[in-house]
């Protein structure tokens, strides 16, 4: 049965392959192993720094920042998890090279086009009018089957009361989910299938995996889990290294002591 999300298209949101196991398909639900999940990847070289950075290096960055209010006010975006996922879905080459505000630009455009506030064609046309080369890499890849996020947050902030008790306690050994999932998640790939120790309990919080896709806040217990460097990276890891990751209860399974 043909899945329209896997169809080939000639426009900018068509399939492109970026290396083994990294095919990118259209469809908000189909994103897996997004480029944004950068922890532990090697090869990016030295960290480049500058002194006394301004808040915005170029005026266009502030311009992009200013789209935040409009994107939320128009209903194109309803919650921060949806916003983060919109950024995760941009073209991976743009993600790595367009900078922070270039990523925001792609994310906002995804949301504005998917919600019908703006049309892709009119953005393209107007950008061409301003003199952009027609072959310029565009970050945005609006989904043809976007999530419908109907409502905004139920309450200020993201912490939520949970009646049910936490499943895990401090000191518990836990094993994280072994595989990636389509869609938004806050379990980094480097911490999948790993054995860690719960070091803190943080009560209930809005669950991003659900909230980003308009499936409701579905609050979950949140934990800080500690992983040794050896567990994450193998024998070559620095000996005295501990990585702490804040993880939701559905990402965790008990491990026999």
């Amino acid at each position: 049965m043909a899945d329209p999300r896997n169809g080939r298209r000639a426009d900018a949101s068509a399939s492109t392959t970026i290396g083994p196991g990294r095919s990118t398909r259209v469809g908000a639900e189909d994103e897996l192993d997004g480029i944004h999940d950068l922890g532990g990847r090697l090869g990016f070289g030295p960290v480049e720094r500058e002194q006394n950075e301004p808040a915005f290096h170029e005026r266009w960055e502030a311009r992009v920042f200013s789209f935040m209010a409009a994107t939320f006010a128009s209903g194109a975006c309803r919650n921060v998890d949806q916003f983060r996922h919109a950024i995760e879905r941009i073209d991976p080459r743009a993600y790595l090279t367009h900078g922070y505000y270039g990523r925001w630009l792609g994310g906002f455009e995804n949301l504005l086009v998917e919600s019908g506030v703006l049309e892709r064609d009119e953005i393209d046309a107007r950008t061409r009018e301003r003199g952009a080369p027609t072959d310029a890499l565009v970050a945005s890849r609006p989904s043809k089957t976007p999530d419908r996020v109907a409502n905004g947050p139920m309450a200020p902030g993201s912490d939520r009361m949970l009646e049910r008790p936490a499943r895990f306690a401090r000191g518990d050994r836990v094993r994280t989910r072994a595989h990636g999932v389509p869609g938004h998640t806050r379990l980094p790939a480097y911490a999948r299938g790993k054995l860690g120790t719960v070091t803190a309990l943080h009560q209930g919080w809005v669950y991003p995996d659900s909230n980003a896709h308009g499936r409701g806040e579905d609050p979950q217990h949140l934990y800080t889990v500690a992983f040794s460097g050896r567990e994450l990276w193998g024998e070559d890891s620095r000996l005295r290294l501990v990585v702490y990751v804040d993880l939701f209860e559905p990402y965790l399974n008990p491990e026999a002591p």
Binding site: L38, G39, E53, A62, V117, L118, T127, P188, R240, V242
Partner: protein, 192 residues
């Protein structure tokens, strides 16, 4: 022909469309620039650190419940629901990251520097923090435990750096001027 990068032109195009739809005005960009130029940046965090250095009770409270401890300071510039402050000692060095995006304790440190948000830092600090810290000029002995805090949810982290030696005679305000943003991210040690 414009010398702006294509992203700049696309941003202008989107802005012009949003203006036509009444969702934004042509003043909004300047308002944003103004707002962010006026922010106090990491001064809030520096005040917390300086207070913790001089007041042991406050330090305990800060380490136990960061968000509660900062209530008394009434910082503006963003709600922080849960702030966890982690302490550097001779045996433990903490450093903060958000590998998945760029979550950062805005309320106490202001806007993050560009390197914090970019792939090189996000990818390497969880895997080879000692090498990244070396690039920042921080050399740690093998016996020092490095703790990397990946801000993967809404908890925000800040480092309480060690107080530099030779500062016993400084008052709280003077101490606050010594505290840098980078020391509160964990990529700098104060006092050399």
């Amino acid at each position: 022909m414009s010398e702006s990068p294509p992203q700049a032109l696309r941003a202008e195009a989107i802005e012009s469309l949003l203006i036509e739809k009444g969702l934004i005005t042509s003043d909004t960009v300047d308002a944003v620039i103004q707002q962010y130029n006026d922010r106090v940046g990491p001064l809030n965090g520096a005040r917390l650190v300086a207070r913790a250095w001089v007041d042991p009770e406050f330090k305990d409270e800060l380490l136990r419940d960061g968000a509660k401890a900062i209530e008394a300071f009434q910082f503006d510039g963003g709600q922080v629901e849960k702030l966890v402050v982690v302490e550097n000692t001779g045996d433990v060095h903490n450093v903060v990251v958000c590998t998945l995006c760029s979550c950062y304790p805005w309320a106490v440190l202001g806007l993050p520097p560009r390197w914090y948000k970019d792939p090189a830092y996000r990818s390497r600090i969880v895997r080879e923090p000692h090498r990244v810290l070396e690039e920042f000029g921080v050399t740690l002995g093998d016996d020092v435990e490095i703790r990397v805090w990946d801000s993967s949810a809404e908890i925000r982290y800040m480092v309480l750096p060690e107080r530099p030696t030779g500062t016993d005679d400084l008052d709280e305000d003077a101490l606050a001027t010594l505290v840098t943003r980078d020391s509160m991210i964990g990529v700098e040690r104060l006092g050399g």
